[in-house]
């Protein structure tokens, strides 16, 4: 299953490329899955720190989805909605098996799965940014460039935070 392969028309003179559009579209699905994962935390007995961290991911990525949608709409491109994660697969996103595993876990086991899978998920986002930056002429539009850098900065930092939480988690293997 691959991501956004819908053809993209880039108007003449635009400072963005099809790769930028695909990045923004794909990241909406990517974020939407992270939000789905984060919203499991309350009901599945996450410890308070993990729960708070999950809430943070939920709140920040929700706001970012709006930014991405607004950028796409403003540039006359298709803006996927938050349901798009059901059919779009981007780097680091959970497999159906992993989702089943996460949904079945409770308490400290949930924490371990959540943190481990969210690290994987964030690393996928970093890969998406890396791919974007490696793409010819991409990430020159200031909004895309700043947003991509923010994702790299924020998610790298969050990976560090999650690793430390994982090390302190009693179910750490």
């Amino acid at each position: 299953m691959s991501g956004m392969d819908t053809p993209v028309t880039v108007p003449k003179g635009a400072l963005y490329t099809a790769a930028d559009v695909h990045f923004m579209q794909g990241m909406i699905a990517h974020h939407a899955q992270a939000i789905f994962m984060s919203r499991l935390a309350a009901a599945q007995g996450a410890n308070p720190r993990v729960l708070k961290f999950a809430n943070k991911i939920d709140q920040s990525q929700m706001a970012e989805i709006r930014l991405m949608q607004e950028w796409l709409v403003a540039n006359g491109q298709t803006a996927p909605d938050t349901a798009s994660y059901h059919h779009v697969m981007m780097a680091g996103m959970l497999s159906p098996e992993q989702i089943t595993q996460l949904k079945a876990a409770r308490g400290p086991e949930f924490d371990t799965h959540f943190l481990t899978m969210m690290i994987q998920h964030h690393e996928g986002a970093l890969k998406m940014v890396e791919d974007l930056l490696a793409s010819p002429l991409a990430a020159q539009d200031v909004d895309v460039s700043v947003f991509a850098n923010d994702i790299a900065t924020v998610q790298t930092a969050e990976i560090g935070t999650m690793r430390r939480m994982l090390e302190q988690n009693p179910t750490q293997p």
Partner: protein
């Protein structure tokens, strides 16, 4: 299993196990003047307390355009009567000799995101990070990678009306921000510590760049801050001389086994990527800083580096030494730092969401996206005390999180002013690191009316291009008597503190006595107050406010000061010398004996200055 594992390299780090240990803060439930302000770019509602607006100057026409970040203002630097205001598309120089009427000296169009400026003498430095910056400053993007400029631009601004680009110093990771550290040995040399948050550019674009996950690899562009050395007489020769490897040893031990972390990697086969290749080892500790603040007088650097706040000794700027690192799960993106003037306290900010998200809403957690106060122990280690977040819930239309600020030079207190994007400007007292509180604020309503949600139709009110506007105060700084705030979408605000029960006339007057020839907020100068009556009276006001000395004594001291001020020099000297001795005698019995002692010393200095 079943116990907390830490490697010895992590022993120096502390991790808060619970936020409840710190002072809890809640959004005010009562009426806040900042609630419900009308939206609008130039006609938004305004609320302020403890300060007044001296002037507002809109962005220059060159930068005034549609939505998005392309033409927003960024950070500021100050020298003489000039304010240097960065912009993602260049910079403006304002002559603020008359703060009520800033005059445009120059507007330079030069695509340079994010354009954070620093000034040193006649040299202006500008951070360039994005993919669309060209060597020639031009618009239209980079067509040939050889034209790509990412690093630090150097301008000669000896004629503020005609700045000249004299050098582009290319760096592997570009420059999100940079910080000036004057050489402790050579007055003709400064260093720029360059923070770049992106990965390294390919070697085909810039020779010598290398990006991998090996922190021990000395040739790796990651895990270091690029250090540019500038010889002031030969700025055209400025170049990267070394990398400040301040992260060495912070890498957590490699995770055992791939586990789920290596499994289930989805993803399309990307350009330059092979979905069947094994994933690269995951990034762990910090590889970069977002921003570093230095306090050269104390040889200290505070680095806001990903999920860590780092304390570094910069006695030798070419060989910095890490002293400590702090981590906190509430702070996922450590941002700028501000030292107290005595170098014993530090405020770090958390730029949750990167600044483009509305993270000051009532639903947002208060311990995230705000400040945290730490003290620096005698052993040069961090101790975390409290969180502080803008005590006013903002709307969903206002991008808001704690951002850049600097000290307000009120003697006897630790006060800072800070920009919170569309949360406005806030003045905060952190004298007691356990109980930071708000002293004054300035806020506008959102730039935009409520936006469309989740792909809905663009609203007629906002025009066909349904973009949320990113705006607000990028940074707010006190410079020579005024507070300057760089409004990203709107322009330049100049504000002035006004007296309140929390800040006296004397404290405001004492702050105004502190003048700097130049000021770069991230390169913090040491504040020294002159011998002056407002300084002594500031301490006295503080003793009255905090019941630090018996009321009978504070009123007697106040009267003695008033009388002395009216005397001719010789008599004044004698009267103040006598008063200083008396106040020295109060030290032992005072509740706030340290402040009484400081006041006695200030009176003594005032006596000596009476000529």
């Amino acid at each position: 299993m079943g116990h907390v594992r830490r490697t010895c390299t992590l022993a120096a780090l502390f991790i808060l196990s619970s936020a409840t240990a710190l002072e809890a803060q809640t959004y005010p439930t009562g009426k806040d003047a900042r609630n419900g302000l009308k939206s609008g770019i130039l006609d938004a509602g305004v609320a302020m307390e403890g300060m007044k607006q001296v002037s507002f100057t809109p962005k220059a026409a060159e930068f005034d355009t549609a939505r998005g970040l392309t033409f927003v203002n960024s950070d500021m630097a100050f020298r003489g009567n000039y304010v240097y205001q960065g912009n993602f598309a260049g910079f403006s120089i304002w002559d603020v000799s008359n703060p009520a009427k800033p005059v445009k000296a120059a507007v330079v169009s030069c695509i340079t995101s994010q354009g954070d400026p620093s000034i040193y003498g006649n040299l202006l430095f500008l951070s360039a990070e994005g993919g669309g910056n060209r060597n020639d400053c031009g618009k239209g993007g980079v067509q040939d990678p050889k034209d790509h400029m990412a690093g630090v631009r150097i301008f000669d601004v000896s004629d503020p009306k005609a700045p000249k680009l004299i050098k582009n110093v290319q760096t592997c990771k570009g420059s999100h921000t940079h910080t000036i550290i004057p050489s402790p040995k050579d007055k003709g040399v400064i260093y720029l510590y360059v923070s770049g948050s992106q990965g390294a550019r390919p070697e085909t674009e810039l020779a010598g760049c290398k990006s991998n996950n090996d922190a021990a690899d000395e040739s790796n562009s990651m895990f270091r801050l690029d250090v540019i050395k500038v010889t002031l007489k030969k700025p055209q020769d400025a170049e990267v001389v070394t990398g400040a490897r301040i992260f060495t040893g912070m890498e957590p031990a490699p995770r055992r086994g791939g586990g789920a972390a290596a499994a289930g990697r989805g993803g399309r086969a990307g350009r330059g990527g092979d979905s069947t290749a094994p994933p690269p080892p995951p990034p762990t500790g910090p590889r970069n800083c977002h921003d570093v603040s230095v306090y050269p007088a104390m040889n200290l650097l505070a680095g806001a580096c990903g999920s860590y706040g780092i304390l570094v000794d910069i006695s030798n700027p070419e060989k910095p030494v890490r002293l400590d690192a702090a981590a906190d799960t509430n702070f996922s993106l450590w941002h700028t730092a501000v030292f107290s003037n005595d170098g014993k306290k530090i405020v770090f900010t958390d730029e949750w969401g990167g600044g483009t998200s509305p993270n000051c809403q009532a639903t947002n957690m208060l311990e995230m996206g705000g400040n945290t106060t730490l003290s620096i122990t005698a052993a040069k280690k961090f101790k975390q005390h409290a969180y502080f977040k803008l005590p006013s819930a903002q709307t969903a239309q206002e991008n808001c999180v704690s951002h850049n600020g600097a000290l307000v030079p009120v003697p006897g207190r630790d006060i800072m002013v800070q920009g919170w994007y569309q949360g406005g400007v806030d003045v905060i007292d952190f004298s007691d690191p356990d109980k930071p509180f708000e002293l004054a604020f300035f806020d506008r309503g959102p730039v935009d009316a409520p936006p469309v949600v989740d792909g809905g139709p663009p609203s007629a009110a906002r025009g066909p291009a349904a973009r949320g506007t990113i705006g607000g105060s990028w940074g707010a700084y006190y410079y020579n008597g005024m507070i300057f705030s760089s409004e990203m979408a709107r322009g330049l605000d100049i504000l002035e503190l006004t007296p309140s029960d929390k800040l006296s006339v004397n404290e405001i007057a004492a702050a105004k006595l502190v003048k700097f020839e130049q000021f770069n907020p991230q390169s913090q100068p040491k504040i020294v107050w002159p011998a002056a009556f407002p300084v002594v009276r500031s301490y006295l006001d503080q003793l009255v406010r905090g019941n630090g000395l018996a009321a009978a004594r504070t009123s007697a001291i106040g009267s003695a000061l008033d009388a002395a001020e009216k005397m001719p020099a010789a008599a004044r000297r004698a009267a103040l010398t006598k008063l200083a001795t008396q106040v020295g005698g109060d030290v032992g019995s005072a509740k706030d004996s340290a402040r009484v002692k400081t006041m006695a010393d200030a009176i003594k200095a005032l006596a000596a200055a009476a000529k």
